[in-house]
């Protein structure tokens, strides 16, 4: 293969696409031909990349593109009147652009503002706590020519709970650069030993030991290594990384510097989800400050001086890119499909080089551990999971926001903090996580007589402990109260996976689509007992045969919900018959009737 100098490196493809998308509000044919040539790729391959990410558009999406959160939390927070207000004022239905090309009204999954819903992004500027009146104000201000940056909201960092001052890790004042002074005393191996000793583990939800990951990467010899911060937090209901990057971005950058020093990486990247575009500029400014102070760039002062710099790679709307191999593909300017896991990123990652991919919270923990000393850190939390964990709490509770809790907190105590009344379900770690069921009043009174036989489940859960020994959590905690319909919640989760499946393997791509149809059948009251058997069997097939975690975990909550709320599913099901209740002859012939009616009226 000949490599022409004039061709641009593929890693910059998404930046180029973003520039065109921003300027022209879509990526048109002519631009595509030009870009394909610049990157020496076929047009269709480029189309494949563009159409993978839902924030890149092949058609005009309006001078002002409004993305309304379509998730369940937004829905339960009063999205309906807000959506209607947008539609009425703009005179278009969701999914369309106004005739003058001024406004595009679109939907997108969770935008990381679950504690301030209903919320939307307009040209990636956040607008929170929306009401129909507020919507009217926003649109009229824009029409009057107001600048978005002047009228948008600054998302609040609602830090509702932290442990006592001496046991708080993240959300307390930090003096910029202070932990970095330890670089001078530490050999990279010593640093890795400290991280290993701290038992710090991947805070995105997988909980892989961070120190071990760094050690693997360090031991893989290569001319280049990379540190990537996974700031693509797309799990519905989570917003902890957003708050961390707003409140303590310095911890993140310093964590990356430590990681680079430990493994011997000279380059780093923050893969920032597009929904957090408004964090890009402040982060870039901060990176400059670090460069000016000699903590990024060449010859960084340390026991063994080293080179390291960080850039920001913008995502473009694909939940699956939170999976590390998909994230790496995306950074390489490809479709964000997960790889076959033939190699771990620490062996062959970004551009085929050893790469460490760490979550924002994981990296932020590193400078704090060094600051307080690993022994102090180990005294916080539990034996398996020392330290604290940041949870994003949203849903039916008065005290929404960020909770930095010490690992080992009782689930019961945590719930009391949220102030929730009559809780029913607590969804831990997002749609693919755990569906915890709760009975009200200290977990002792049963909600209904049918519940009696299964109350062991609820009692156990009430006494559960949030820790590595019992129940872990990636960060998303969505609380639903008694008034909520479990089927509706589960269906919404299923919608999310159908939309976010990368499409590479059939169980996830079509299995989830078919399962979604079944759930719809149940919601419409057409379900029979055998449909529930199908749902269970199909979920199991999807779980065991999907290609990556997205598919494998996609039905966790569904299966748990069936087990924990049998009476709700029973209510939606009737006895088996020999006829498909979802088939309605009158509906099936309606189209024909319309055509014939239209025609006969023509003849007359």
């Amino acid at each position: 293969m000949t490599f022409h100098k004039k061709h641009l490196p593929r890693t910059s493809l998404m930046d180029v696409l973003w520039e065109i998308q921003r300027k022209k509000r879509h990526i048109g044919r002519d631009d595509m031909s030009k870009i394909a040539q610049q990157f020496n790729m076929s047009r269709m391959e480029l189309e494949g990349v563009i159409t993978f990410y839902h924030f890149f558009h092949r058609r005009d999406c309006g001078k002002y593109t409004i993305y309304l959160n379509s998730g369940i939390i937004s829905r339960f927070s009063g999205r309906k009147p807000v959506k209607k207000a947008f539609e009425d004022i703009l005179g278009i239905e969701t999914g369309n652009v106004t005739e003058d090309g001024m406004f595009g009204l679109l939907e997108t999954p969770c935008i990381g503002l679950s504690d301030q819903e209903p919320a939307c992004l307009i040209n990636f500027k956040p607008f929170t706590n929306l009401t129909p009146e507020k919507v009217a104000d926003i649109i009229s201000s824009i029409k009057k020519g107001a600048r978005l940056s002047d009228i948008c909201d600054k998302p609040k960092s609602i830090i509702y709970y932290t442990p006592s001052k001496d046991r708080t890790v993240f959300f307390k004042p930090y003096t910029t650069f202070s932990a970095l002074s330890q670089l001078k005393d530490l050999h990279p191996e010593e640093l890795i030993e400290i991280v290993k000793k701290s038992k710090l583990a991947g805070r995105g939800g997988a909980f892989f030991p961070t120190g071990l990951k760094w050690q693997f990467c360090r031991h893989n010899v290569a001319d280049q290594k990379y540190i990537i911060c996974n700031a693509d937090e797309g799990e519905p209901g989570t917003f902890k990384d957003r708050v961390l990057m707003e409140e303590h971005p310095e911890l993140l950058i310093e964590g990356m510097i430590f990681a680079a020093y430990a493994v011997g990486a000279a380059k780093g990247a923050i893969y920032l989800r597009a929904e957090y575009m408004y964090l890009k500029e402040p982060l870039e400014n901060l990176l400059s400050t670090y460069r000016q102070n000699g903590f990024l760039g060449s010859d960084i002062a340390a026991k063994i001086p080293f080179d390291f710099d960080i850039y920001i790679h913008m995502g473009a709307g694909a939940y699956v890119c939170g999976e590390e191999t998909a994230l790496i593909n995306s950074m390489e300017g490809k479709r964000g499909e997960p790889s076959t896991k033939e190699f771990f990123p620490v062996q062959k990652g970004f551009l085929g080089k050893p790469t460490v991919v760490n979550n924002v919270e994981t990296l932020c923990a590193v400078p704090r551990i060094l600051e307080m000393g690993v022994d102090t850190w180990l005294q916080i939390g539990t034996d398996k999971t020392p330290g604290t964990k940041i949870l994003s709490v949203s849903g039916d509770c008065p005290n929404k926001g960020i909770y930095e809790i010490e690992w080992g907190m009782k689930f019961n105590d945590f719930l009391k903090l949220t102030g929730v009344e009559k809780p029913k379900i607590v969804q831990f770690s997002g749609p693919s996580g755990d569906c915890l069921s709760i009975t009200p009043d200290e977990g002792k009174t049963l909600r209904s007589s049918q519940r009696k036989s299964r109350d062991y489940l609820t009692d156990q859960e009430y006494d559960r402990v949030i820790s590595g020994e019992d129940i872990t959590c990636g960060g998303s905690v969505m609380i639903f109260n008694e008034s909520r319909n479990i089927l509706q919640i589960i269906k919404s989760f299923s919608d999310f996976f159908v939309a976010e499946s990368c499409g590479i393997c059939v169980p996830c791509r079509t299995g989830n689509f078919l399962l979604n149809k079944k759930l719809e059948k149940l919601l419409h009251g057409h379900g029979e007992k055998k449909d529930l058997e199908d749902i269970k069997a199909w979920s199991e097939i999807i779980r065991t045969t999907s290609r990556c975690g997205l598919g494998q975990m996609s039905n966790n909550s569904l299966l748990q919900a069936i087990e924990k709320f049998p009476e709700e599913f029973d209510r939606a099901l009737s006895d088996n018959t020999d006829f498909n209740k979802a088939f309605h002859l009158d509906e099936a012939v309606a189209e024909y009737d319309n055509i014939i009616n239209e025609l006969t009226s023509d003849y007359e």
Binding site: R43, R509, I541, T545
Partner: protein, 423 residues
Amino acid sequence: MNNRINLTIDGKTIQTEAGKNLVDVAKENGIYIPTLCYFRELNPLATCRICTVKLNGRHTTGCTIKVADGMDIEVNTPELLDNRKAIIEMLYAEGNHFCPSCEKSGNCDMQNLGYDMGITVTRYPHVFSDKIVDFNPKRMIMESNRCILCKRCVEEVKTKDGKDVFSFVQRGVKTRVHIDYEQEEKLSESEALHAMNLCPVGAILVKGMIHEQPFGERKYDLLGKNILPKVTSVNNNLHKKENEKFIVATTSLAGCFGCHMSLLDIDTDLLDIIEIAEFNKSPLTDIKKFSKRCHIGLIEGGCANSENVHVLEEFRKKCDILVAFGECAIMGGIPAMRNFVPLKECLEEAYLNGVTTEIGAHIIPGHEDIPKLLNNVYPCNEVVKIDYYIPGCPPNAQHIWKVVKSILLGEEFSITHDEFKYD
């Protein structure tokens, strides 16, 4: 260094070289792991998931396993076999696979796996999504209806200057493989043929080069001879009194009557049937209305109009056991190809604009006595419960006879590879 290692597959100890691909190792040792996307020296893609096995108790794909010492692998457990079947069925439900009209039929890897696994029907409802058949490329046709997104072509077919010819576009259920016209033109004749042969199904076709082998000598017609017959057990509850003859009903819904013709091909065995059975409502007897309850009802054709639905529901009510015979009854068949065309266009083509319509025709008939067309053609099992399926277009007469006889007598039956066809 000694590279020899030991591993177990389904309890059998196998000695081989470390690092080899599990699918190959199993094959060398007489254990067959079915695959669709795995292709010779191509890097394992792990897209089709059919080779899913259990490695030390965890599910993973066989094609991505490089064997190592001490591995404990399960290949043919009931659960894994059913998973494989489920995936093939899912592919059938997802795509629009009309075997009787497919150029690759008989040479299709997926169809053959369907035969091997004895799949008569998919457990999933058909998606029937509208997919593009792209005739625009200079040399090729991209038939997305049949594409299973195995990604072989995307990974393997490149131009001499290293550009992709086939690419994945969109994502989720909308994912498709599209051809880049400009790059496709650069391919040589043999490279184009290579792409077609690479495709495990009939999605990539080279114009004018489609029928490799004449019918009857197709790849899997020959290969299949060694495969053991499928045994199906019968569990029926016929409400039959002793000394009473079996009562059979048949009907043709949206079909071509070809299945009924095949029924007549049962030939002299028909005499045996008459011995044990009598026919009630059926085109064969010309009895229009059920005059008594039947033990078994044979359904040809799917549901294309309101009358089909009424007849099918009547059959369900009047018969103990319903058997869908032929592709149209099982998955809609050729009539279901209209599911991708708006109903209005179908009617206009049939009554106004078609080449065979009378010049100046301007009426689409509409009268209360004329059955109403459904928005889609539905497979029978998406309207009522169907108990047994006999695939084929039409099904082999012996196949029909075996199934019907065995159901009536409550015996197990086996279908040979020869008799089991989708086309």
